[in-house]
């Protein structure tokens, strides 16, 4: 599990720090895939299936299509921004390492009091029952969000009538 969490953090760093947007989008897909493995290991197959199909699949496709519709910068522009970019992102690895050290330092004194993982799970069959029977308000909200998204796409991608 620690390796998977480390993989999550490394791929998130790659998303933010890699210069090429296509590679950054692929790194985000890798991040989603690692999160899917974590969800499966924690016995959440429903959420894992959604994460894999929607986040690692659909969102990556949307990102890559959008990136391919935009123009790449010229070599002169890239060289011009390279130095400034390095200067802006040099702090990030240091911040991550500092936060990691702080987290471990805060955790270590309480290590003896922590209970081991492995909390009893509810029956797998109850998961879908909770989703359909207890969370109807969420379902309604999701339907409204999907309709709002469709409306938004129709408005934003509408061709202008003006000549």
């Amino acid at each position: 599990m620690i390796l998977l969490l480390a993989g999550l953090v490394i791929s998130a760093l790659a998303v933010v720090m890699i210069r090429d947007l296509l590679k950054a989008a692929v790194s985000l897909a890798v991040l989603s895939a690692i999160l899917t493995v974590i969800l499966f290991l924690l016995k959440a197959p429903l959420a894992a299936a959604f994460e894999l199909s929607v986040c690692a699949g659909l969102i990556t496709v949307v990102f890559i299509s959008t990136i391919s519709m935009t123009k790449l910068r010229t070599k002169e522009e890239v060289a011009k921004h390279q130095v400034e970019r390095r200067r802006r992102f040099r702090l990030l690895p240091a911040i991550v390492v500092a936060m990691l050290c702080a987290g471990v330092a805060l955790m270590l004194p309480h290590l003896g009091q922590m209970i081991p993982a492995g909390v009893p799970q509810v029956a797998a069959a109850a998961d879908t029952a909770v989703f359909w029977n207890q969370r109807q308000a969420d379902l309604l909200g999701q339907i409204v969000m999907v309709l709002a998204g469709v409306l938004g796409v129709l408005i934003f991608f509408k061709e202008s009538d003006k000549p």
């Binding site: 999550l8 933010v16 985000l28 969800l39 949307v62 936060m99 471990v104 909770v130 934003f156």
Partner: protein
């Protein structure tokens, strides 16, 4: 609190730090969207860890699915806005989005 949940909290806080840093520092609209995605992954991680900790995976999974739907809708609408900005300005850099400047 279990050791696993503590590790999840540390991992999620690192993801949130990376995402916020990306949003604050970068000037590319697409990369800002990618950073927002990292933030939602952190929320997903905490949510599922909390479900595992309390033994209520059904509720946690339904929340995660709701988050994923919201995430996709956010992404689609933001992509539409981004595409419109690109058509108007020919660039995805935020420092060139100054059409409303007096």
């Amino acid at each position: 609190m279990s050791l696993l949940f503590t590790l999840f909290l540390i991992g999620a806080s690192l993801l949130i730090a990376i995402g916020l840093y990306g949003i604050v520092v970068t000037r590319n609209l697409m990369r800002i969207l990618l950073s927002v995605e990292i933030l939602t992954k952190a929320v997903t991680l905490v949510m599922i860890g909390a479900g595992y900790e309390t033994g209520q995976m059904g509720v946690a999974q339904s929340f995660v699915i709701t988050i994923i739907v919201l995430e996709v809708m956010l992404l689609v609408i933001a992509t539409g806005i981004l595409f419109g900005a690109y058509k108007n300005n020919g660039s995805l850099m935020t420092d060139k989005l100054n059409n409303l400047k007096g």
